[in-house]
């Protein structure tokens, strides 16, 4: 059993020295392509914690941060370098797919990297500062067209990102053109929420999972609505959905991991075999549900289909909301 992979590794080493080195690598690193505190960070932490619980005593997974265009730079590096970053998985979300679908990461199709697994579905929410004048979504929506100039949306990512999409859907529902909506772009949802806590922006259409951690930590935030079909379980049970408040806006967000194009099948399989059981333990599922994630695990061809379907859906939505065409060269 041990000889075959080694032999395969040697054979591969003769043909693809880079791949050979990758094949020998252990999974050591989870890359969150944003600044700490956002959804990517959370994904990595969930994976790290699950692995630590599942294999106590093993070397803990390190989480490293590579902010830059909400994953754009990281995706660019994974897609273009065959040089496998040894033993690294990268966190992605629906936002990554949305950006890819719009070509916002460059001329990519989504098939440049390998989608490893999805560990759950997150949902969007609408958060304001705890001392903001709006206590319900309706109040905010009524104020929005009147004070567009003074209500700035913080977003992880610029125009076209998923935070922007959520904000644009809200603005449109409030009767304000998404073009007239004020936006401040940040490097990830974590930064946007910190800016909200510091009252540098007024609203963030963020994600449930990342806000949960901040609320735990006592940050001065107020969630007006979750953008899910029904109320979410656990601590989110008392937060009404947007739909309940008369605005049918839903925003599910896939959360998962991908690896670079240079990582061979062999290694992908090995990592899946390592990660899927670890994420299936009741403790790990509970940890995700605690944050408000629907803890469904998807991988393999099913995940690839899901990703393709999501990207099609996002393309349609982007057309629908009237996103400004991307400048040439992006």
């Amino acid at each position: 059993m041990r000889r075959r992979p080694l032999l395969a590794g040697l054979v591969a080493a003769a043909a693809w020295p880079d791949r050979a080195r990758a094949a020998a690598a252990e999974l050591v690193q989870c890359i969150a392509p944003a600044k700490p505190g956002g959804g990517f960070d959370l994904t990595c932490q969930l994976v790290r914690d699950a692995l630590a619980r599942h294999q106590p005593g093993s070397r803990p997974l390190t989480v490293s941060y590579q902010p830059g265009g909400i994953g754009a730079l990281t995706y660019h590096a994974r897609a273009t370098t065959l040089a496998a970053d040894t033993g690294a998985v990268v966190a992605f979300s629906g936002g990554t797919l949305l950006n890819l679908a719009q070509g916002r990461f460059g001329a990519y199709t989504g098939r440049e990297v390998r989608w490893l697994l999805s560990l759950g579905v997150d949902h969007g929410l609408v958060a304001v500062h705890r001392e903001a004048p709006w206590t319900t979504l309706k109040q905010l929506m009524e104020a929005l067209p009147l004070q567009a100039q003074h209500i700035a949306f913080g977003a992880g990512g610029t125009i076209g990102s998923q935070d922007w999409m959520k904000a644009a859907l809200l603005a449109r529902a409030a009767g304000l053109s998404p073009k007239a909506m004020r936006l401040v772009a940040f490097e990830g949802g974590g930064e946007a929420l910190e800016a909200l806590a510091g009252r540098h922006v007024q609203v963030v259409a963020g994600d449930v999972a990342e806000v949960a951690g901040l609320l735990e930590a006592g940050r001065p935030l107020r969630v007006l609505a979750v953008l899910a079909a029904q109320r979410l379980p656990g601590r989110w049970a008392r937060v009404p959905t947007a739909r309940e408040q008369g605005y049918d806006i839903r925003w599910p967000i896939l959360r998962g991991l991908y690896v670079g194009a240079g990582v061979p099948d062999e290694l992908v399989r090995r990592w899946q075999d390592l990660l899927l059981p670890a994420l299936s333990t009741p403790a790990s599922v509970a940890a995700r549900e605690q944050l408000g994630l629907q803890a469904s695990l998807v991988s393999g061809p099913a995940l690839e289909q899901l990703v393709a379907r999501q990207m099609d859906e996002y393309r349609r939505m982007a057309r629908d909301i009237g996103l400004p065409p991307l400048p040439a060269g992006r």
């Binding site: 590579q66 830059g68 936006l183 772009a185 490097e187 540098h200 992006r330």
Partner: protein, 464 residues
């Protein structure tokens, strides 16, 4: 707007009417320039704080683990927002647009940026007029293979505060300029009054003069600009005085010249009336006729002299020799009666000798000189008329072979009623010649002949 249609406007009003719009225009231009300067100054000052914000952002850019992060200096932005008293916007983006942080869609700089050189420009963001600073931050290493190597940092602020600053500045300047304009009007009015005072004094002095006061106007204390006017008026006064003098002289001349022959005629008529002898009556009538002839000639001379004194010469081109011949022909009867050989010195080649002057007056002058030569020359003598021209002028000459000048009157010849020895004339011939030639700016010269007895009278006048 022609000045001709505003004859009532004084110099001061004209000065103000011209100066005020000009000053207004200059002030307006000055204000406009001040506004530009103030905006430039405000921009320079406010741009510096924009650059400060840009630099703060630049220092907060971190590149690690293949990513890019910008720590947003919120505190600084808050201070900045306070000083800018308006909204502040910022944007940090890679030049390929993959990464964009801050306010999306901030207007791009109008020109290509060079690394490390900030560019400031005005633009509009969400309908708000903003001032932007843009700065290119070069990255030591590209963020990924084929990714951009530079970050564009933009900071924008509303232009409200800098416009308020320059508006206040312009308002202050407008106030100052308005005050200066008022001072200028007052000064111009005062200075114009002061400068025009000598003119008013001159007018008052002139108005107070007696009608027959022909003394020149007093030019002392008058501005240099008025001198030409006063000088012209004075010359006019001089001419008027000369004219008046000439008239008075004519009246004197006429009374003297006419009274004497009339008295003589009266005496001769009385004598003839008392005489019964027809022979004597006839002799008296002969004498009467002769005396009348003298009176007629004297009157003509008097009128010629008066004309020469008072009428401006009418210069024309004429032939000198032809004039001399004409004079000779007209005097032939007298010459024959006095048995004088009267002739014209003709050059060998007859050609016109063109001259310029008042022909009528010059003819009269030559006629009188020739007449004198016939009358005062030697009986049976020779009188010759000559004409000549040179580069400087022309001359007409009468030469006789008589006794020459009477020493008793030689110094006074040419004065009126001064007669040479045994003269039968009125003593006006030389006076006429002298008057005419002086009106031509020339000279009458009487000198003894070099080649024997006789007198040479020369009329010389210069070319104009």
């Amino acid at each position: 707007m022609s000045w001709k249609h505003r004859p009532k406007l004084g110099l001061r009003s004209r000065l103000l009417l011209l100066l005020l719009p000009a000053m207004g225009l200059i002030t307006a231009c000055g204000l406009w320039l001040t506004r530009i300067d103030a905006l430039a100054a405000a921009n320079a000052a406010y741009d510096r704080s924009l650059l400060g914000a840009i630099k703060a952002l630049e220092q907060n850019i971190t590149i690690g683990a293949g990513g890019l992060a910008v720590e947003l200096p919120y505190r600084l932005f808050e201070f900045f927002q306070l000083t800018a008293s308006g909204a502040v916007y910022f944007r940090v983006a890679t030049t390929d647009g993959l990464v964009e942080i801050g306010h999306p869609g901030l207007p791009a700089p109008p020109e290509a940026l060079r690394a490390g050189e900030p560019v400031f420009y005005d633009a509009s963001y969400f309908g708000e007029s903003v001032r932007l600073g843009a700065y290119l931050h070069p990255l030591e290493a590209p963020l990924g293979p084929g990714a951009s190597r530079a970050l564009l940092i933009q900071v924008a602020e509303g232009t409200g505060s800098r416009e308020r600053f320059s508006a206040a500045f312009v308002r202050g300047t407008a106030l100052r300029d308005g005050l200066l304009l008022v001072l200028m009007v007052i000064t111009v009015t005062a200075v114009a009054s002061w400068a025009l005072a000598p003119l008013r004094r001159l007018a008052a002095d002139t108005a107070a003069r007696r009608d027959d006061d022909l003394r020149p106007l007093d030019a002392t204390g008058l501005p240099a600009d008025l001198r030409p006017l006063v000088d012209t008026v004075n010359r006019q006064l001089d001419r008027t005085a000369a004219l008046m003098q000439a008239r008075e002289r004519f009246v004197d001349d006429a009374s003297h010249q006419l009274r004497t022959p009339l008295t003589t005629l009266r005496a001769q008529v009385d004598y003839a009336r008392r005489e019964s002898d027809p022979e004597r009556v006839r002799a008296a009538l002969e004498a009467l006729s002769s005396e009348l002839g003298h009176a007629v000639r004297a009157t003509n001379q008097l009128l010629t002299l008066a004309r020469s004194d008072t009428v401006m010469p009418q210069p024309e081109a004429f032939d000198l020799l032809e004039l001399a011949r004409e004079v000779a022909v007209s005097l032939l009867p007298q010459a024959r009666a006095a048995q004088v050989d009267l002739g014209v010195d003709d050059p060998a080649v007859r050609m016109p000798l063109s001259a310029r002057g008042d022909r009528t007056l010059l003819r009269e002058a030559l006629l009188n000189l020739a007449h004198n030569a016939i009358g005062h020359g030697r009986g049976g003598g020779i009188v010759t008329l000559q004409a000549a021209a040179d580069a400087r002028g022309w001359c007409l000459v009468v030469v006789d072979d008589g006794p020459g000048l009477d020493p008793a009157v030689a110094g006074r010849l040419g004065e009126r009623f001064v007669k040479g020895r045994g003269g039968r004339g009125a003593g006006l011939g030389l006076a006429i010649a002298r008057s005419v030639i002086e009106r031509h700016a020339g000279r009458l010269r009487l000198e003894p002949r070099e080649d024997g007895p006789g007198l040479r009278a020369t009329l010389w006048w210069p070319r104009p």
